[in-house]
């Protein structure tokens, strides 16, 4: 077991920092978001004690769904010990006093930036995404007044044209992360800057998936078992990244790999980006050997 048990919290703040009125406001936005999967619900995002762009949306969502019994896991780039994940986990240890873990299976709430854990999530879990730019159409149309209309009219032609132009220019759809998806056949949604490798994990997922964008003041959600389809064309079907080599630490062939530069001669190796998944596979091997 790797759970670090619940401990006393800083009582100078309300449980999980936000006051109850704010949490209520955010929970209302969450309920609306769950009721309309993939729709971006505006909410009165608060200033948080960490900078905008560093997960304030995710932190507000986590703070609003967290209960004292929860076990929290925080990852950034798939890893529990990246600096920002450490910082956010510490924040909730201090303000909520909840138990924390690095093991995906043990967590009831997982806040993430840029990855979805490799291990399949269950219906007892909530996955909270930190979202920088919630609007999938933003880079095609910078104006919010326009993009809201486009969503309302289900006018996604511009997005398909963009993907088509990629294919005609590069031979590939040149979007590798934040790859747009269609939710329940209605809203086009930004899955946050997770690599497209993770898109299939969102589809029909047993866990509740919540997305918080603090600076942009938007919340959206995927209720459990929601259909999430990556946009593609019949003759250019969606496909995920694949590596020629397995993970050099655990030998996994079906995970997202980070490239690590090991010397200044261009030498490099590939290892799992999901550190918990990689570590538990290695542990299983060494236990079997004993």
């Amino acid at each position: 077991m790797t759970i670090e048990p619940a401990a006393a919290r800083d009582t100078g703040y309300n449980f999980a920092y936000l006051n109850e009125q704010t949490k209520k406001m955010i929970r209302r936005a969450l309920l609306k978001a769950v009721a309309i999967p993939g729709y971006q619900v505006p909410f009165a995002s608060r200033e948080m004690p960490m900078p905008y762009g560093w997960g304030t949306g995710g932190v507000q969502v986590t703070a609003s769904v967290l209960t004292p019994e929860d076990v929290l896991k925080v990852i950034d780039q798939g890893a529990d010990d990246t600096t920002n994940a450490v910082s956010i986990r510490k924040f909730f240890k201090r303000t909520a006093g909840v138990a924390t873990t690095e093991a995906t299976a043990e967590a009831s709430v997982i806040q993430t930036r840029h990855r979805i854990p490799e291990q399949k999530l269950t219906s007892d879990q909530i996955l909270v995404y930190q979202v920088p730019i919630p609007e999938p159409l933003r880079f095609l149309e910078p104006r919010e007044t326009e993009t809201r209309k486009m969503h309302a009219f289900e006018d996604y032609g511009l997005m398909h044209v963009k993907l088509y132009e990629d294919i005609s220019q590069h031979g590939h759809i040149a979007t590798t992360y934040a790859y747009p998806v269609k939710v329940e056949g209605r809203y086009v949604m930004d899955p946050s800057p997770t690599p497209k490798f993770d898109n299939p994990k969102m589809d029909n997922c047993a866990a509740l998936q919540l997305f918080g964008a603090g600076r942009e003041k938007r919340i959206y959600a995927l209720p459990p078992f929601t259909s999430v389809v990556s946009l593609d064309f019949e003759d250019h079907p969606f496909e995920v990244q694949a590596w020629e080599h397995p993970c050099e630490l655990c030998g996994a062939r079906d995970t997202y790999l980070d490239e690590v530069i090991v010397d200044d001669e261009g030498g490099r190796m590939f290892v799992c980006s999901d550190t918990d998944y990689c570590a538990s596979r290695r542990q299983a091997v060494s236990e079997a050997a004993e």
Binding site: E47, W54, D76, V86, E144, P195, E248, D258
Partner: protein
Amino acid sequence: MYVAVKGGERAIDNAHRLLAEKRRGDPDVAEISAEQISQQLTLGVDRVMSEGSLYDRGLAALAIKQARGDMIEAVFLVRASRTTLARFGYSEPLDTGAMEITRRISATFKDLPGGQVLGPTFDYTHRLLDRALDTGAEVEPAATAPVSDDATPHVLGLLDKQGLIEPASCRPDEDQSEPGDMTRDPLTFPVDRDVRLQMLARGDEGFLLALGYSTQRGYARNHPFAGEIRVGMVEVSFVPEELGFAVCLGEIEITECEMVNQFTGSKSTPPQFTRGYGISFGHCERKAMSMAQVDRALRADELGEDRTAPAQDEEFVLSHCDNVQATGFVEHLKLPHYVDFQSELELVRRMRREQGADRQEAAE
């Protein structure tokens, strides 16, 4: 053999200890106090209060000290503290006409009721470094004059009496109901002028200065006159529900700027001057002036002007004027992005391979 990097937590703790040491500087040099900052770096404190949206000199001074003089970081500290405070309601509108003036100038009339009062200003100083300032020499007391009981009416009010300027109003529809609150409601475009002014009031001084400047250089040209700039103390009053009448909570120092702008008139409106409004906590004159210019530029639609320049573009200006938001998102680029970068790397390598461009890759 590569081992996954561990120890982020210890590294963060150590970095914070180093930060504390650097903040203190050489321990042989006397430590600066928040009180000293509050007294001697007053304009910095004023800026942090304005952009931090919290009138508290002590906290703003502490924030400047904690932020090692980084003003945007200090603003951020104040905002993060402000967000935990309960909101009791709205004050009554400030009566800036009843201001106890420390500075009041008008560029549109040579003399006017209440007079021109220069107050403490850099305006006519020669910007020569004053080496004597660092020697601890006594400061000669400033000349004083008795406080005048004469009213100091708003310059624009005088124009208004003659019908030469549009009447002051918060919103074009003259709606006098409760103002919006951009800290409680997410921004939805188009934005009413009340919320727009709130956002500009906490907006970054540098950003508004540049935009205001751009309107003087032909991007949304509408020549402004500094109708009036006034700095001084005003009373803040509040109506507690259980009392039903206004009680004075205290005084705050503010800077108010009213710009007078050209307007040629339209088919339905005879030619008259129009207004741009700027306000800040403390003495932030540059900010209040820039804000007034940008406020006027943003009224393009309302006044039937073509929107051709960045300063007239509400979505552009309001979405980017908050320096806490801007700095957060720009600086988040320091966070690891190696997962996303890896996907780009993979795609670029694949495309180069397909084009036969990457010989090294192809040889592998």
